[in-house]
């Protein structure tokens, strides 16, 4: 990814860090993308980042009394695609939603443990949640473009809060559409409605929207389950290109998809991490018998 702004801004001396609000930080004004707010002693973070390595340490997630994720420790290396597989209800989506702190938005839900983005603990109480969501983008099962917005406005929606000029937004929007492999298909209909695109194009539009704010990590929760095979393959190709720029975590029920796109695959069962390893190893000679049973379809 283009992390230059992170490196640059990480060294910017904020003359008055106390004055920065979380929304300003989230909006991407000069300063670290993720910063501690005033409550945390107003120190701006100078992370020595290495391009978006994510690490879960003893992560637990609950829905009320339901213990959905049970002490998962797992790394998502930068520049790689990691797939999470497992039967329905195994906690894989919940785990992924903990990475950008969306899990806690559900009433009664909470998470414990650490989610480290490089050297930053995303669960540090002083952290700015909005900034977390900018750094950790998410693409959902069903494409969800803003229905009243044009194609280009959809892509630049996240930039609008930054106070960027129209010209700047157009440039970043175009860059994101190119990055999402959609530019050639929509360049003549940028002002048309986002919902006028096909399902596969809408999903790539959502990927472009996530890319526009230069995230370090992209979470994909069943991104192709609503798409036809051709649109699916386009997204899979795109994932292969995007991994150079962002760390990708993909939740999928489609094991062949995991086998095609992921460098590393993790298998979860009953909220626990059963096995993680190189994708080719996991699909040809898994270590754990439960993984073997699942990938060969003997249960699920």
């Amino acid at each position: 990814m283009d992390s230059s702004h992170l490196n640059e801004t990480a060294t910017v001396t904020d003359p008055n860090p106390e004055s920065r609000t979380s929304s300003e930080a989230a909006a991407g004004r000069p300063g670290p993308t993720i910063s501690f707010g005033a409550e945390g002693g107003a120190k701006s973070l100078k992370p020595a980042r290495e391009d978006g390595n994510v690490k879960l340490e003893e992560l637990h997630a609950y829905y009320g009394s339901n213990h959905a994720v049970r002490g998962v420790s797992l790394g998502f290396p930068a520049g790689k695609v990691t797939a999470i597989i497992g039967p329905s209800g195994c906690g894989k989506s919940t785990m992924v939603r903990c990475i950008n702190r969306m899990h806690e938005e559900i009433p009664g839900a909470r998470a414990e443990g650490k989610v480290m983005l490089d050297e930053i603990d995303l669960y540090d109480p002083r952290i700015d949640i909005v900034a977390v969501r900018r750094s950790v983008g998410m693409v959902f099962q069903k494409p969800n473009p803003f229905p009243t917005m044009s194609v280009i406005d959809n892509v630049t929606a996240g930039l609008r809060l930054t106070g960027a000029s129209r010209g700047e937004m157009d440039d970043r929007g175009r860059e994101a559409l190119v990055g999402a492999g959609l530019w050639d298909e929509v360049k003549d209909r940028l002002k048309g409605p986002g919902t006028g695109l096909s399902g596969g194009q809408q999903q790539r539009l959502c990927i472009a929207r996530a890319l526009a704010v230069n995230p370090e990590v992209m979470l994909m929760d069943e991104p192709c389950s609503a798409l036809d095979p051709v649109a699916t393959l386009k997204i899979e190709e795109l994932i292969g290109e995007l991994k150079q720029r962002v760390t990708i975590v993909i939740v999928t029920h489609n094991m062949q998809q995991a086998a095609r796109v992921a460098d590393t695959t993790a298998f979860m069962l009953g909220g626990e991490l059963v096995e993680v390893g190189a994708t080719d190893k996991l699909f040809t000679n898994p270590d754990d018998d439960r993984t073997e049973q699942y990938v060969t379809g003997k249960f699920g």
Binding site: M255, F283, T284, N285, V295, T296, K298
Partner: protein
């Protein structure tokens, strides 16, 4: 968790049984081949040649079904290794059948006279019996996923190799008579073909180790012998 894909599992089990059943077909062909060698029975030898179509048919049928499983069921892990191994096993079985054919095609060349050297015929029959044992052991090792039993095939195959070398020694001693020497050459080719059947059975054993461990390793490296 509910058990799933039972039809697929049943089909895979059926194909394994069918592929390994090819070893039984080879042994039946080998029995007839040895009998044809012993009695210089040209008609029986022709039967073996014609019957090889059944082994080839088994190869084609199971091979196609395995390809269909690959295309439609996306097998992974042990299932994938098993299918890969069965494709190898099928090829081995097909080659073993061909070796029986090779021997039987030579029987008319050995003439209708009594054997030039009875000891050599005995050696070939002993080789054949030992190879039959090896074939059965390879099949059982595969069925039981027994790597130790599979590795033991090398030891069993050494017996065949020794008998083969003994045949060679006898051929050298057979004298200057041109007919006898021609007969001995033919018998050497037969011994060599039987020895190759044993090698193919050892190859099946190597596939057992692959199915179980996920690692392929030749039990014996002919290019870099340890002894």
């Amino acid at each position: 968790m509910a058990e799933t894909r039972s039809q697929y599992q049943e089909e895979l089990e059926r194909l394994e049984a069918s592929a390994l059943g090819g070893v039984d077909m080879v042994n039946a062909a080998l029995d007839r081949t040895l009998e044809a060698v012993e009695h210089q029975d040209v008609e029986l030898a022709q039967l073996v040649v014609m019957d090889d179509d059944r082994i080839d048919g088994r190869y084609l049928e199971v091979h196609q079904s395995l390809i269909t499983l690959l295309a439609t069921q996306s097998p992974v892990a042990t299932d994938l290794r098993l299918i890969s191994a069965l494709l190898h096993v099928l090829k081995n079985v097909e080659r073993m059948g061909d070796q029986c054919v090779n021997i039987c095609k030579m029987i008319p060349l050995s003439g209708n006279e009594p054997p030039a050297d009875g000891r050599m015929v005995e050696l070939i029959l002993s080789m054949g019996k030992q190879v039959r044992t090896i074939d059965n052991q390879a099949k059982r090792a595969f069925e039981d996923r027994n790597v130790e039993m599979a590795k033991d095939l090398v030891r069993q195959d050494d017996v065949v190799d020794k008998l083969n070398r003994e045949c060679f020694r006898l051929a050298l001693e057979i004298g200057d008579d041109a007919d006898k020497r021609e007969w001995a050459m033919t018998m050497l080719l037969a011994a060599r073909a039987i020895e190759r059947i044993g090698d193919n059975a050892v190859d099946i054993g190597e596939q057992v180790a692959f199915v179980v461990t996920g690692l392929f390793r030749e039990f014996e490296d002919a290019s870099h012998p340890t002894v």
